[in-house]
Amino acid sequence: MNRIRRLVFLRYSFGIILGLFFLLAPVFADPNSPEKRDDGLVVISRNPPKGEHRPDQYLTMILKTGYACDPKGKAGLTVLTNELLINFFNETSALKFSYETYADFSIFNFLIAHGSFEKFCVELDSIIRMDALLVYDLLNERIQAHQNIPQFPGTVAAAQLDDLLFGRDHPYSQALRENYRNLIINDVNNWFRQSYRPNNLIISSSLPLPKDFLRKPAGRDFLEKVSSEIPSVQCRPIPEVKFTENHDQTSSIFLGIPFPSLKNEGFFASILLKNYLSEELWREIREKEGLCYDLQVSYSYLPESSAPVLRIHFQTLPKDTGTGIIKVISVLKKIAASGVPEEDLARVFKWEKNQVDTENNPLLRSTVDRALLALFEQTWLSDSTQYLERLNKVTQEDFLKILSEKLGSLKISVAGPAGARESLKGIYQEIISLRKADK
């Protein structure tokens, strides 16, 4: 009898413990862990600490569709659809919002007053569940507005660079080649219905979402999986130059090198390299030589996440075009040969650390970072300590490895007047030396 009672006691204890475990599991669950719902929506919400009083809350929505997902012949569709949705977002209780349409995804960030958070979620829910965007007039207006955007020489040079890096027909080259005249309201509505589904969205919020968020029935299919296969990029592993003559007073110059993606080992070295190049090229080209007014170095690991590029862009007087480009190549070659000076490496690392330490709006930052974590599944995206640790482990060998592998694929694109073409003659020796080094 005692033995039976003991067994019963153990069985019930076990049941209670198991019950307690499931009850309390959410309390101990990792708040940074995305939760994938049965409808495919990925949610990552913060549970605010008890007693927290703050006037501002944030929500980031990632749509896993970007401009590179546009169907063939319909370049501009994602950009246009997002622009039309912005008009609906303008009418919500969000205080402010921003958005970007990147190649592989689109990201929307909302600032909401604390007291309006639930109301905003209801508004966002009803926008996403719309059957169609009944905005014919607005569509027409947007198409007309796009027709009236001038094609600056900078745009021509940038598009030319994309052709060299990605290939003319690759979806990544379509960013600057939208033809809005091809798009009609049916295209936009079909695209909206197809893209804006729970299984194609990630929501990160600084407060828990309402339980019925995107649960109410929609008048359209919410279950079919959205597929957006982007073909891989075939970049020719040789240095190339392209020049387009245009009617301008300055030369627009772009240099591009395919760089590691953020899931790649070389990513952290690439971040530091980009920061170092920003400083060094500014020093060499603007400060020492007075050749340009503005010089931008960018690393597109988010905008072109499948095939990021390190881009260097500046403008010079036509006669200085070749000189400017040669300066850039010589800096790159110097790094490829001997790395980044230790003092400068410490400086660019310290700059990154300062960005983390002096973030004025950590709640906004963490909301965005958690959304990116859910998209890319890299824990360092929402853990600044981890991020800085990984940056701190970068060595000279990492820089040498990246540039020895990638510099041979350097692409140069110039749009400028006839005088610039003359000035370019001097760079061909440099290009040939890159090819020889590559061999």
Binding site: P150, T250, N360
Partner: protein, 422 residues
Amino acid sequence: MRFLRLIALMMLITVSLIPVSSEAANLSYQSKILPNGIRFVYRVLPQVKTAAARVIIPTGYLDEPRQSRGISHLLEHAVYRGNEKYSARDFHNLIYDQGGTFNGLTTLNRTEFSLEVPSTNLISGLTVYLDLILNPGLAEPDLRLEKNIINVERTLSGAGVNAFFLYFNEITQQQFDSSVSSISRESLLQYHQDHYKTGLLTVIVTGSFNPDQVIKFLASLPKNSVSDEQSNFWLSHENTGNVVLNDYLLGEKYQLLLGYDLKGLSEDKGSLTVAKTLPFILDESRLYDYLKDRPLDYQVFLSRIADRYYLVFVYRDCREHYSLELNNWHQKNMQRFFKYLKTNSFDKFLKWRSQSLENQLETLEMDPAALNMFYARTLFEPSAMTVEDIKAMRSVSSKEIKAFVQKYLDGKNYQKVVVKAL
């Protein structure tokens, strides 16, 4: 018991009728004139980690001597080249190593030097910055380089041609033409001595910092005497002829500007808020010409130059070359706008817009640099929207808008500038 229930019900009804007012944005700043004449404007934001500073010299393009046009811009650039004490690299590294940023700007009536750094580094950053600003080296080789850089800057895509500047260039008789290449070091030095005086400086600081420390530092700067200066600027009011120019227009066929001189608005304070709301109304109007299949997407803004206000409409066209037909179309569009303003009710829109602008202003308290820029505009640009203007916007009536259009716009002459692509 029934009586108590009645009291409770009445209280409930009363409480529910009290309007829930949203806390309006509190963007007030403190302002002090220090013994050396520096005007120190500041707002402490204890919740942030950085401090933004802006040093403003009240001299810009409109103050330049005719023979040295572009001198204030050249001086702004030259400041960053360093002096005997601090090289260009010293300042750059000081700010960069702290994770900070800096920038300079020259505009019609002022030159600005801005900075944002972690709070603990504000004094060290300001110390070096002000030393460079008040004691620039102006070495000849540096000036040569900066002149070349300014030449590139002026011809940049989109910045090289701006109908707005061309308009003001016309009414100021080419005040914005540049003669930077011929400016000597001596004239630059003299211009600096005449205008970069502590008695004329405004320093704006926002963010997390100790105001007493900043006051102590600023007050320690030497006092420079300020003389009664005559502005070199003069405005030709009588030049209302139309202007046709040719210039590099990148990707555009032409740019058109129509500028209405709002004579008398400076004295008519009551109408100024009405004038400031017009760009918001017209921006949201989304008027469309269905015959021509074109939106009326003009850029509309209110501008002030000297003592006069101008309502400016700018149109950029990438599709058609300028023609008489288009000229007539633009004239008709102005009539469309005025009719729209006179015949519609904007009460609801203005209430909504005012509230949304107030909401946006609230977010400035989280961003020291943005708040700093807001204060600079409020202090130096009479045509900018202030907190008071945003509040007053919600009570601007359609009757007032109609009266404004009839008084200042309808049937009035405008200055037309057409820039055709070369």
